[in-house]
Amino acid sequence: MKQFAIRRILYTIPVLLGILVVTFVIARLIPGDPCTAALGERATQSACNAFNKRMGLDKPIYVQLGIYMADVLRGDFGNSIRFHRPVSTLLLEKLPVTIELGVIALLLATIIGIPAGILSAVRRNSTTDVVTMVAANVGVSMPVYWLGLMLQYLFAILLKDTFLWLEPGKRLSAGLSSIPFYKAWGLGISTTSALYPAVEFISNFFLFNSVITFDFVVLGDALKHLILPSLALSTIPMAIIARITRSSMLEVLSQDYIRTARAKGLVERMVVLKHALRNALLPVVTILGLQAGTLFAGAVLTESIFSLAGVGRSLFDAITGRDFPVIQGFTVVIAIGYVAVNLVVDISYAYIDPRIKLE
């Protein structure tokens, strides 16, 4: 198992190098250039030359790539062209927002999608089944940005002044702030300390931070703000998970060993939840891993719509601003996340199905 994991991690190195090169190239294929994005349409040629020289953009592309790769291998993603701050610092700031949103969305998708799929399969062709599957088909066809806007319109505008009202964006209500745990605990960690980026990163997970500091006002408020964006983000994965669970469950329920389980005297509930579900889960887990990609893609739109300062939003801004180091750094981190999730998925196969040996 350990060997398998190590080998899989080694395999991802060429993948990540490939991603570095591809994002480097694609970023530069976007029409427009960093100079006009940063200095404006009317920037003079000489101002632009100076800008490019300062940013190292005057060198030939392959030299730029070489320098960039060398920097990345040292753990340096460079500085943002627009903000003049290290990309790694930006990442530490933005990642928690996206991870929080993504995890909540994936949880929602799983805890609603899987039971919905099971119910549909067990009561196939019933009204429950038809309604669930129609909902799933509608859900899977709804673009995230459209759904996000509709949710905002419904909950922030139409339901204004009712108890169902929800704010259309941001992480916390005005006037509230999440007090980082190290401050709440009275740990004197200065901004220059080596620990500072790490504790800052952790405290940026508002949910986690408010739980460990027992700040339930912030926890409740943060959760309330997460409802709409995570709902928008989870709809497509939820629908896909429900459909895969249903079809996988239907197939498993017709297997001989299900008949054996019934013949043994197991009640139907246990037949489904113990004997069928574990067998039906394999394709669902695969899809779950692949949905991580959909979530990241959806996060770009969701974060933009709901004014969340996460990786997706920053990436979107970086692309419009031709902020090459940010585009590259963020994309690589997203890719690492995707690869990591799928590694976890592959390892979990062996736990779900003993026939799968990880070699």
């Binding site: 008949r259 054996t260 019934r262 043994k264 005297g265 004997h275 574990r278 003993p354």
Partner: protein, 356 residues
């Protein structure tokens, strides 16, 4: 072919199936898989249920345990087990009976075991369901059962998964699971069809040993008459969703009455006999959606042509005693005066002889 010496048959039936009717409501029409089946099983006896593929044997056995899934439905009949009609029981009671008082083994042993649990866990589960046994004691019992059914090194085998077993071992595990609580009735649905011939013999020996040791009655479902001869005390022959003949096994092989049974027996290859071709019954089992009127075997029946009976294709005969303890569903043995064709002399003689 050794015919097994049968047991004294005075004991009362443990299971009586009456007019069991199971239909499948498919898009193409209603499949009458089991259409008014009657038979009974005595305490401790082995009843063979024999017939071609698709004649309703398996559906009959699944119907007894009410394991019929949609689009199938048991539409009529009674399954009286120890005085109670199983078809009228609430599902909660039915679930208690399954695996405890009536258990079942299947044709494909390897796919009948759940691939994600160890075989030990799957046997232990039976004790957990029906006895609320503690895990450790149940595990000990499971290992004991594995030893009983002839699994070598049962302590470590209990920790293996079904994919690590051979077909024969898997069927032994299935038998261990089925016999765990010493049921009163074991339904074995083609238990050896998927196995090698040598393994077949071992599994049959095991079932017979358990039957003799524990007194568990067995319904042995098979298409293999050889197996019936070796194992069964009594035989019910099924054709197109109906029982067509029911008798002690010795009588069946010596003096089968139904033309279908006669055809089946004729088609058994005899070791050493040189034949260009094996005897066969022409045609196939009728479409169970669109059954012929009259006797379901009539379109394939040579005797009908031989005796020139026209009633066969018009009115269905009933399952009646042609001789004491020998039931058959055929116009050759049933009085059809009042219907058209008169009996031919040969039949009349046969019928007279048969009557006491």
């Amino acid at each position: 072919m050794a015919i097994r010496k049968r047991k004294p048959n005075g004991s009362a039936p443990i299971l009586e199936v009456r007019n069991l009717t199971t239909y499948f409501y498919t898009e193409d029409g209603v499949v009458k898989a089991v259409d008014g089946v009657d038979f009974f099983v005595r305490h401790g006896e082995v009843l063979g249920l024999v017939g071609e593929s698709g004649c309703g044997k398996s559906i009959t056995s699944l119907s007894i345990l009410r394991l019929i899934d949609r689009p199938g439905e048991i539409v009529a009949g009674e399954v009286v087990f120890e005085g109670d009609d199983l078809l009228k029981k609430p599902m909660a009671d039915m679930v208690d009976i399954r695996g405890d008082r009536i258990s079942m083994i299947f044709q494909q042993p390897k796919s009948s075991l759940n691939p994600v649990f160890t075989i030990g866990d799957q046997i232990v589960e039976v004790f957990e369901i029906h006895e609320q046994a503690d895990k450790e004691a149940a595990w000990e019992k499971a290992v004991g059962l594995l030893r009983l059914v002839g699994i070598a090194d049962p302590e470590s085998k209990a920790h293996t998964y079904p994919h690590q077993l051979s077909g024969g071992q898997a069927q032994r595990v299935m038998i261990a699971m089925a016999m765990a609580l010493q049921p009163e009735l074991l339904i074995a649905d083609e238990p050896t069809t998927a196995l090698d011939v040598t393994i077949q013999a071992q599994i049959l020996d095991l079932i017979r040993e358990l039957n003799e040791a524990t007194g568990t009655a067995v319904i042995l479902i098979t298409h293999d008459l050889g197996l019936i001869a070796e194992m069964a005390d009594r035989v019910a022959v099924m054709y197109a969703g109906r029982i067509v003949e029911e008798v002690e096994v010795e009588t069946l092989f010596k003096q089968a009455l139904h033309p279908y049974t006669q055809g089946l027996i004729d088609s058994i290859p005899v070791l050493g006999a040189v034949k260009e071709r094996l005897n066969t019954i022409p045609g196939g089992v009728p479409n169970l959606i669109d059954l012929p009127p009259g006797c379901r075997f009539a379109p394939r029946c040579r005797a009908r042509e031989e005796y020139g009976l026209s009633i066969c294709t018009e009115v269905e005969p009933s399952l009646a005693e042609a001789k004491p303890g020998h039931k058959v569903r055929c116009w050759l043995y049933e009085d059809h005066s009042g219907h058209d064709a008169p009996l031919k002399p040969r039949e009349a003689k046969a019928r007279k002889k048969d009557r006491p």
